[in-house]
């Protein structure tokens, strides 16, 4: 376990999350993918904190946790709204800007 392996793992998780973000059509699925990405970022913060140089990494990881919680709350509220107006939660339904 070194800093490099941690970073590689985190990069892998991030890419997987991005994949989900680009391919999921269900709004909740998109939120899940975002969680994976935020989690990967957090792993980076903590790893840098552990391997010297960035002692405030843990504090930032905490902030990221708080931010994602806020994001999930708002995200799910939007999902509810989407569901109520379209009777479904596929994000490509929300394309009113196109018209």
């Amino acid at each position: 376990m070194t800093l490099t392996t941690c970073l590689i793992l985190s990069a892998a998780l991030f890419s997987v999350g991005l994949y989900g973000l680009l391919t999921r059509r269900h709004a909740v699925g998109i939120l899940l993918s975002i969680e994976v990405m935020a989690n990967a970022a957090n792993l980076n913060f903590v790893a840098f904190a552990h391997y010297g140089g960035a002692s405030w990494g843990q504090a930032f990881a905490l902030f990221v946790l708080g931010l994602t919680v806020a994001e999930v709350a708002i995200g799910l509220a939007l999902v509810m709204l989407l569901f109520r107006s379209h009777k479904d939660v596929l994000v490509d339904l929300a394309n009113a800007f196109k018209h």
């Binding site: 269900h26 699925g29 708002i74």
Partner: protein
């Protein structure tokens, strides 16, 4: 290079986290995806313990696995259509996503590879939870307060957005 118990645990946990993330984004049943996300997050919590951040691990479990996941479950179930939550992703967008994801991973891995010399660091002992708390209320005070304001705003915002409107006010947007 000798294999230590720490390394073995890291390899196992890391692999599980990765597998979990794969299933999170690929699972066709959304409920399974949520549970796999739980696996990923839980494994990350174990990694946090290994990286000298047990407090973060506890918070991760408490907040993410306990809170966010349950919210997601609610999100899935409250928006379920006719009893099935199986939603196939659109086929054409898959290759595109894989391409982008691989490209991002390549860029990140390449960057890490280029900087591998600078990344040769030894672990420093953690400053402890007490230090973390003190730094939150001194050095990062403004960020901390901003975060609390953000959470409050998010809470109010979520309530306002998700609240059921009066039935006599049509909430349906007009189809053009």
């Amino acid at each position: 290079m000798t294999f230590t118990a720490t390394m073995i645990v890291f390899a196992l946990v890391g692999a599980l986290a990765f597998v979990g993330s794969i299933f999170t984004v690929r699972s066709s049943k959304l409920v399974h995806a949520v549970l796999w996300l739980g696996v990923t997050l839980g494994m990350t919590a174990i990694l946090f313990v290994q990286l000298g951040a047990p407090f973060l691990a506890g918070i991760q479990l408490l907040l993410y696995v306990g809170g966010v996941m349950t919210l997601m479950i609610f999100g899935v179930l409250l928006t379920k259509r006719d009893g099935d939550s199986e939603l196939k992703t659109e086929e054409p967008s898959r290759e595109r996503g894989a391409l982008i994801a691989l490209a991002v991973f390549a860029v990140l891995a390449g960057t890490i590879w280029l900087g591998r010399d600078a990344l040769q660091r030894t672990a420093v002992p953690s400053l402890g939870t007490g230090w973390l708390g003190t730094s939150l209320l001194t050095r990062h005070l403004v960020a901390f307060e901003a975060l609390s304001a953000l959470l409050l705003a998010a809470m109010i915002g979520a309530i306002v957005i998700a609240r059921r409107r009066d039935p006599d006010q049509p909430s349906e947007p007009k189809e053009s």
